[in-house]
């Protein structure tokens, strides 16, 4: 479809000369008396519209339909012509609405029947119409600017609809010649101008209108090419409703419209709520909404515009959370906008409800081919795909890559999506450097930040399974932090320290691991590492992010005094517990080792066996958490050394710890641990020298 076709610019030229004040001689009864009050009263005499009124209201109806269906890029310029041309509006989009035109027409008022007919002419209007067609519209300007060196691709075509009362065929010929001549002249002018465009194609639609009952002095003539630039057609139409019908046909031709009649709409009247009747409403819309009917040879003949396609109202309404496969959506305009059935239907839709429409068929299955729905006060006819109803067999996502994984963080990603929903920013925003900020780019930036560390499955993460981490995780991804955010992050970290001290269990996944999973202190190591990964991913966002990391690093390291105490404690208690502990630990460690080799699996179900395979088969699946710390062990002590002063919290918690430790006997393993790891089988080492280096393998020899 071309944007700059003839329908981009329409100029209405309506005759405002004295003879247009003549009556159309079609009476309108306006005094409809209500039965029980009419006794003895004679209704007021019917009135009739003037030729002018008929012309204006028909052209307004043309514009109404056009604006309803094409609120943008289809523009109207309205000119009335008497002793001069009065241009009522411009091509700018702000001028393109009925209210503006109506107000301007009211200011012009009806033609003055007593004016001198000699100095009035439609020619003034036609000349002004050609002039205005040369003027560039904002859309043309925008396209030309955008295309730069290809600016000549932007076409300048238009249509002049002239409603007048011509005297004869030769008078019509004279009007055509005048337009032809004027185009020729103005194209010369436009060639030398930057803000004017030459007219490439102009369609002149001359409508001769005359009072009902008179003979027409002008004959109809179908479209004829007068020159490569100008085509012209002549319509001779009686005034009154005939003129309105003609313009209705023309608007459909000019804008490729088609008609759909919604039938069987169930309605009830306010006064008689118990009775109901079915109503029909006719709508106009772009003909592409009928694309399926036209192609399947439904047979709408060329040039016949009386045809309407009937679609049946479908009773179970659709809900708006269903996503229909829609191949097109076209704005509609009711043919009879103020009729009660029309406004009943449009109000129903404007209240946000949708209705499915089915093709009327005598037999066979229901075929739902369209849907009427409003979006923000505009009603659209949606075309639903209905071509093949055999159910196809698409593969399910669960059969494809990643389809067998069952612990995706679906809920968390749902939350992520809700946080990354879009909203319109209509007012332009500027960056610090003064350049225009594109909201959509901001949205992409945010997605980038929010996904810097985002494990996809539950067994890949600890921190995102912990409620306690939420206050930190939700703010750390932000571009900038407030003091309060930093405080909340610090609180979160202190809280975690506290949890560690209290030895609270962590939601570490045991999927894919055997035995009881990593030990508590190991779990905390994993958790701290992961938290550090998350925070580190954002330290370049701002200085405040940096501060969160500092706090984290300070807190996760053990205060030196405690280390000292542990070392001392280890030496003291070493000998007492050695043998007993060794036996116990040996049992544990043995079963751990066995299952690692897929041996000690007797007590396990088949499911877990399958999970074990995940680890074995897929290199990308989460590493068993117990592997990680081995790698990172070397780094940690360095970090500790580099740390600065001890925080108040850790001082305080140390105090409490010391106080508590007096109340019970500390577990030997913890006391002996270095970095929360206790070395096992030390007795073997002592006995056998260097052999038992690796995880007690030697012990089984």
């Amino acid at each position: 479809m071309k944007i700059f076709s003839e329908s981009h610019k329409t100029v209405f030229v309506v005759d405002h000369c004295p003879y247009m004040a003549e009556s159309c001689r079609q009476h309108v009864e306006f005094d409809m008396l209500v039965k029980n009050r009419t006794q003895g009263i004679i209704p007021l005499a019917p009135i009739s519209k003037s030729l002018w009124t008929c012309s204006v209201e028909s052209s307004m109806e043309y514009c109404r339909i056009m604006y309803d269906i094409f609120p943008f890029k289809k523009l109207v310029n309205f000119i009335v012509s008497d002793s001069g041309a009065h241009v009522l509006n411009s091509w700018t989009q702000e001028d393109q609405n009925l209210q503006e035109l109506m107000a301007a027409l009211a200011a012009v008022g009806p033609p003055n029947p007593r004016a001198d007919p000699e100095c009035c002419s439609i020619l003034h209007g036609l000349v002004a119409a050609v002039e205005t067609l040369c003027k560039i519209t904002e859309y043309q300007h925008e396209a030309r600017t955008l295309l730069m060196e290809n600016a000549e691709r932007v076409g300048n075509r238009g249509r002049i609809i002239c409603i007048t009362n011509a005297k004869s065929d030769s008078h019509v010929r004279m009007l055509e010649d005048c337009v032809q001549e004027t185009i020729h002249e103005h194209n010369k002018l436009a060639a030398n101008s930057d803000h004017l465009m030459q007219i490439q194609k102009c369609e002149l639609v001359l409508i001769h209108t005359y009072p009902v009952g008179e003979d027409s002095l002008v004959s109809d003539r179908s479209k004829k090419e007068l020159s490569p630039v100008l085509t012209s057609e002549v319509h001779s139409v009686r005034a009154g409703r005939h003129l309105a019908t003609k313009l209705n046909i023309l608007v459909q031709q000019h804008f490729d419209l088609a008609s759909t009649t919604i039938t069987n709409i169930p309605m009830k009247e306010e006064q008689h709520a118990n009775t109901s009747a079915n109503y029909d409403v006719e709508l106009l819309h772009h003909k592409d909404a009928h694309v399926d009917f036209l192609k399947s040879g439904g047979g709408s003949r060329e040039g016949s515009f009386k045809e309407t396609i009937t679609l049946k109202w479908c009773t179970p309404r659709t809900n708006n959370i269903e996503l229909h496969y829609c191949t097109g959506a076209y704005r509609i305009s009711p043919v009879d906008v103020n009729s009660r059935p029309s406004s009943c239907l449009t109000n129903f839709l404007l209240n946000g409800r949708s209705v499915l429409l089915e093709q009327p068929r005598k037999s066979g299955s229901k075929v739902i081919s369209h849907m009427l729905s409003s979006h923000g006060g505009e009603i659209f006819l949606h075309v639903l795909s209905s071509s093949r109803s055999i159910l196809e067999d698409p593969p399910s996502i669960s059969e494809g890559c990643g389809g067998r994984v069952t612990d995706y963080r679906i809920t968390d990603f749902g939350e992520f999506m809700r946080e990354n929903r879009l909203t319109p920013f209509l007012d332009p925003r500027y960056k610090i450097d003064g350049s225009l900020e594109v909201p959509l780019e901001r949205a992409k930036d945010q997605l980038e930040k929010h996904t810097r560390y985002w494990p996809m499955i539950i067994s890949q993460t600890t921190i995102f399974n912990m409620q306690a981490v939420v206050p930190l995780a939700s703010v750390i991804v932000k571009e900038s932090l407030t003091e309060e955010d930093v405080l909340n992050c610090q609180k979160t970290i202190y809280n975690l320290v506290d949890m560690e001290r209290k030895n609270d269990p962590l939601p570490i996944s045991t999927v894919g691991t055997r035995g009881k999973g990593p030990k508590r202190d190991e779990q905390y190591r994993i958790m701290w590492n992961e938290l550090e990964t998350l925070v580190r991913a954002h330290i370049n966002n701002s200085e405040k992010h940096q501060r969160v990391l500092e706090c984290l690093m300070a807190c996760r390291s053990k205060p030196p005094e405690e280390e000292e105490r542990k070392k001392r404690g280890r030496k003291r208690e070493d000998k007492e517990d050695k043998s007993e502990k060794a036996v116990k630990d040996y049992e544990q460690e043995k079963s751990w080792q066995d299952s690692e080799r897929l041996k000690g699996i007797l007590e396990r179900g088949k499911e877990e066996l399958a999970e074990a395979e995940i680890i074995k088969d897929s290199p990308d699946s989460p590493e068993p958490p117990n592997k990680k710390p081995l790698v990172e062990m070397d780094e940690t002590p360095q970090v500790e050394k580099s740390k600065g002063p001890v925080s108040l919290l850790s001082l305080w918690s140390n105090r409490i710890n010391t106080a508590n430790s007096r109340k019970h006997q500390e577990f030997a393993g913890r006391l002996n641990s270095v970095n929360n790891r206790a070395e096992l089988y030390q007795h073997l080492k002592e006995e056998n020298g260097m052999e038992t280096t690796e995880n007690g393998k030697a012990s089984r020899q």
Binding site: G109, E270, S276, S339, L391, C401, V405, T423
Partner: protein
Amino acid sequence: MKLYLRTGEGLPEADGKAKEQLSVCILIGNTGIIFIMPTVVVMDVSLSMTRPVSIEGSEEYQRKHLAAHGLTMLFEHMATNYKLEFTALVVFSSLWELMVPFTRDYNTLQEALSNMDDYDKTCLESALVGVCNIVQQEWGGAIPCQVVLVTDGCLGIGRGSLRHSLATQNQRSESNRFPLPFPFPSKLYIMCMANLEELQSTDSLECLERLIDLNNGEGQIFTIDGPLCLKNVQSMFGKLIDLAYTPFHAVLKCGHLTADVQVFPRPEPFVVDEEIDPIPKVINTDLEIVGFIDIADISSPPVLSRHLVLPIALNKEGDEVGTGITDDNEDENSANQIAGKIPNFCVLLHGSLKVEGMVAIVQLGPEWHGMLYSQADSKKKSNLMMSLFEPGPEPLPWLGKMAQLGPISDAKENPYGEDDNKSPFPLQPKNKRSYAQNVTVWIKPSGLQTDVQKILRNARKLPEKTQTFYKELNRLRKAALAFGFLDLLKGVADMLERECTLLPETAHPDAAFQLTHAAQQLKLASTGTSEYAAYDQNITPLHTDFSGSSTERI
């Protein structure tokens, strides 16, 4: 009097019924998932296809053998890369026959290839008519189809020959119109079992080119380079595969979360406006998610096409290992099982989109967007789908300009509300449409009569209805002034004066005052003098001393 939709919520008693009716289950046309670009293979089985091809030192081949060889190659390619494609096989001579209806079973197609008989002369037009019928019956007029015509370039003789068809092409009636252009979006690929020199020696090539032209230029002619042999046929079909049957691979991205995917069927290039921007737009191979929107907000948008987004596993060289869809082949099986167990972003995204009832907005290119969503079929199988919007800065009026959509965190307050109870969509247009703004249309007398009756009805309920009375009166006044219909103003003024005389004795004294005042104002306006006929000036109620009069509110 007002009308209410019977099924609507206008009247309370209608509610119960409407809800009961909602439980009725119906089959909507689009429940059958259509994401295919079917292929029709049209094979020439006329006698000329049995012409021998001389190949030195080997057994004798006929052209039809070469054709079958090429098609086998095509079918094999599709069986591996285009498992979801539907293909039909039509053979033709002077008659045509649908050998294999649309199927995904390439064995059946292969078998049919080896069971073809030889028939009489070539009659292309009837075969093309056959293709029209087959496709339209199966897919309607909206699904794009690829037609692969395999022929030797002998176009028949006499009536029914292509030359004859083309010569009479302009003298057709609606009932026997020439089948091209196909009445559905299509590509016509003509595979000639002949080399260029051979075709150029007659007017065959010209005629075939006319066919492509008639199909609005959609399609291409392939000829054999060099001597007719198996190898050269292979390379010809290789070119077709490269052109039309290469899988579209892309990377789906959401920030740092990514997945390799195949988009199926391949998205076609799209021309927005052949005059201003004649270069077809092609979608990016990086599909970048820019944000998310609720399904209720995106609201069944119109789309150009829709596609399955299948996660694929790529090996180190970047070759496709498989889509993970289970297959009979054992080697693939284990590879697929591994792929199935590696977490994939597509599966996560799909799951959350489905649970939350949302779509992801994805950028396809400069000023081109689409949406990703979960699509379920009736068997509760579901998959990740992508629909393409029309390229342009504002594909959906109710979302506004795509570039102006930004993250909610940039807004002063959450536009979705703290309890997720509101939405920034749909955007309201600046100007209301005629049906939403109570426009005045008097083309039919009933329109005018209704408006006059409204005034009259309110006139009889003065002073209670003073506000509505003046509102309706002013609406009529404005329209009459714009249409230059001053006689109407006079007529209505007369009517109001008469109403005044008909007031019952029990009427409120204010009623008479207001009626007289209104009539007088209308009469003044009907003179058309600028002082009284200003469009923007309204007739305001008369200030009276009657206590409790609603007029004081003005």
